[in-house]
Amino acid sequence: MIDFFTTHAPVLTIVVFIFGALLAPVFGRINNSLSYYCALITTALSFVLSVYLLFSVYNNAPLEYFLGGWKPPYGIEYRVDILNSFILSVVSFVSFLSVIYGYGSIKSEIYEKRHPAFYSVYLLFIGGMMGILITNDIFNMYVFLEITSLAGYALIAMGRTRYSYMASFNYLILGSVGATFFLIGIGYLYMQTGTLNLTDLAQRLQGHFDTNVVLVAIAFIVVGLMLKMAVFPLHFWLPDAYTYSPSVISAAMAGTSTKVAAYLLIRLMYTIFGIQAGFSGINFSGIIIVIASITILAGSIIAISQTDLKKMLAFSSIGQIGYILIGTAMVNKYAFAGGLLHILNHAMMKTALFMVAGGFFYKFTSTKINDLKGMGRQMPFASAMFLILSLSMVGIPLTVGFISKWYIILGAAQSGYWIVVPVILLSSLLTAIYFGRVVHNLFFKDSEASNTGILHAKIPYSMVSSTAVLVFLCIFFGVFAYMPVEISLKAAENIIGAMPWK
């Protein structure tokens, strides 16, 4: 039984989402709340499965699964190692908590009869990402990328303002362009190698790195993924998308979608582009580090000037994606682990922050920073959580924000990319400034008469508890960081091999 379970766990992790998404609208015809439980059970199941996968691959060798029983490169292969099972767990965990959170917030933000379809699309959104994470076939990645993107477009459009549609449309156009670039890149790679399996691709690419075809393929794949990741000059879609979507979707997206694109880039960088080797005299990791540094600083600087809390958080997300990139691009065990940890940490922090913002919205239908004055008195618990999360974002020790920054800086110092250190410190300062502004409004200003549009007297427990769990974990993993650190260090070791000290 256990054997059966271990063998099939990789595919079950993904297939539950397909079944959940198919059944949610059908069950929803019987009773609306059935579709909610469908979503809840699906995400819970996949979370359990992916944690099981994580422990299984942490203790044993990576798992392989040949779909349809066809050996790669003829068939599609699933390959689970520590890196992707770690992110699988993060994504499914965030999505599970978001569903719990949604119990209260979706009811107030989305028309009741749309709930079955909403949950179905939500499951497809998460399932698509899980599919990207687990597969070892580059075209399969594209297919699942499109599933998650399509679902994402519809979810963003469900926001309460009419501008949500425009935000969604912009995302659709840019996202499709990004995906098509990715497709072009796949085509060029296929042209040069004749295969789509990542492992096989990596082998067959050896010795071809200096051809134009491969260079252009890499350029297009990287640009396409950076569009999806919202790296600085290509970030247009993200702020609107996060700002105008429903609270629960902002929360879930902030924790998952850009990170999955980042994972894709990391995976491709390390397995097929051979970032370690550096080819044709192009310093690949240097380029990405420069781009990531610009992204970090630009995101933080633009965030300072925002007047809307959700938009500020969105720009902050743009900056934080830079951390993940910068850490993983340095080809250093510690920096890589730091970048990986930041995927977990930022997912927890930003999801929780968007959840708190959603709480403010739930009560006052506004997320303008100026409308949040004096909220420290009216919503003390939410404000306190916001304070803790802000500290974590700044990177104060004993919170998770510190752990990942510490490892990135450590790695930077070791690998000699000293330029990264001031970038990270400066951005921590900028983060302190823009979060300080909000905290100041929350606690030191008296509330103004303008925010009288109180929708609900009390915030439901589902919203509070899911946020509190994340806030608690932000502290818990900041203090007892041992487990995630061990996992990500081992993942880093597996990916780049043990690097000698200095």
Binding site: A413, F444, A481
Partner: protein
Amino acid sequence: MEMIQSLTPVYAVLVSLIAIIPIYLSRNNPNLREFWTILAAIVKFIIVLSLIPPLINGHTVGINLFEILPGISFGFRVDSLGLIFALMASFLWILTSFYSIGYMRSLKEHNQTRYFVCFAGSLSATIGAAFAANLFTMYIFYEALTLFTYPLIAHEETDEAFRGARIYLIYLLGTSIAFLLPAIIGTYLAAGSLEFVNGGLLAATASKGLSSTFLVVLFALFILGIAKAAIMPLHSWLPNAMVAPTPVSALLHAVAVVKMGVFVVLRVVLYVFGIDLMSALGIGTFLAYFASFTILLASIIALRQDNIKARLAYSTISQLSYIVVGVSLLSLSGVKGSILHIVVHAFSKITLFFWAGAMAVGAHKKYVSQLSGIAKKMPVSMAIFTVGALSLIGLPPFSGFLSKWYLLKGSLEAGLVPIAFVFMISSFLNACYFLPIIYIAYFGKISPEDEKDSHIKEAPKMMLVPMCITATMVILIFFFPGIVTSLIDLALNGIF
């Protein structure tokens, strides 16, 4: 020196942190709320006192709570240096609590609950830093103190208060993130650990062929990062933070914040770099000259201040550098003098600030020029001021004399005669800015309006009694220096 595993230091830190909850919950009942504050202060002091016996017996007390990352743990370790700091802070918290109650109530301040909550939090952070076992733990409490004192400085919620608080935050958070954190990372990279070691954490690594440039840069980062020590040019947050209520200023400028700054400098010099490494690199002498510049300049600026609290603030900046210079002399007497000066200055300066608060509450005076003839109406307060001022000038029979004596001796031991001159000139300058106040208060002519104004009277007992106690302490330490110096000797045992 064996280490006794004990949770006592943890309790000492937690007492005031836990006290926040009852303080917050009893926000509608001021008497109960103040009771909790006082209770927490007393319990804390007792816990700290209970740490003395094992230390006298030559042990250290500590515990490693958890290891966050390899080589980085969160833990406490009580040695005599930390204990001196903790004793001083927790004792003065009791007095400041009483004083605050009197001050806040007679001025009918708003948001008193937030005030007391943040006060308790600040004390936890202070004790935490005093007992920290490593740079990492210390850094956490260093930042925590900054964050806890921010609401205290912004307490008035005027534009000026917000401005002062913002400058405070930018200076302290900014420097600690931009300089202190990289310095800690550098230390970790060089030594692979952050624990405080008696001979100096980095001393062992010097032989491993670390370039001296790296170490000098590291030290410079540390000094730049510790803006709480208010060494010029990173001092201007201190005068700006004067917008805070007076008890807060007393806490900031005498006990918690600035003392934590110099305390961290001491820790870095003695336990991270170590005397030998410092003198080998020659950075001690450099720091001594650098900081003595602050001593003189700040004293001269203080001469020109009319605002009482601003004058005291610049005086503080100058006195803090005494401590920094003292330790950077790297001689036995110098270090001893500088530790002693932490205590002496704490008692003297808190006396002066208490006096300034008494002036604000009793006479509504904020400027030196308004004080002429005030001694007639407020004789007790002025007597107390005289004690504090003379102590800071360094005259016997006040404790200030002791520490200055040691500092002078230390500078001669180290063979740095110019520093000795700096101390002397500065003492003269101290006299120049304190004696005029005494002169006009006693011999100046009281203005007719003040003469008639019946509102001008001594401050409430709640404020006056703590002042008297601190002033008495200033004198007591002169006559019974053994209480402090025995602990100091204990601290320096392992170092020299």
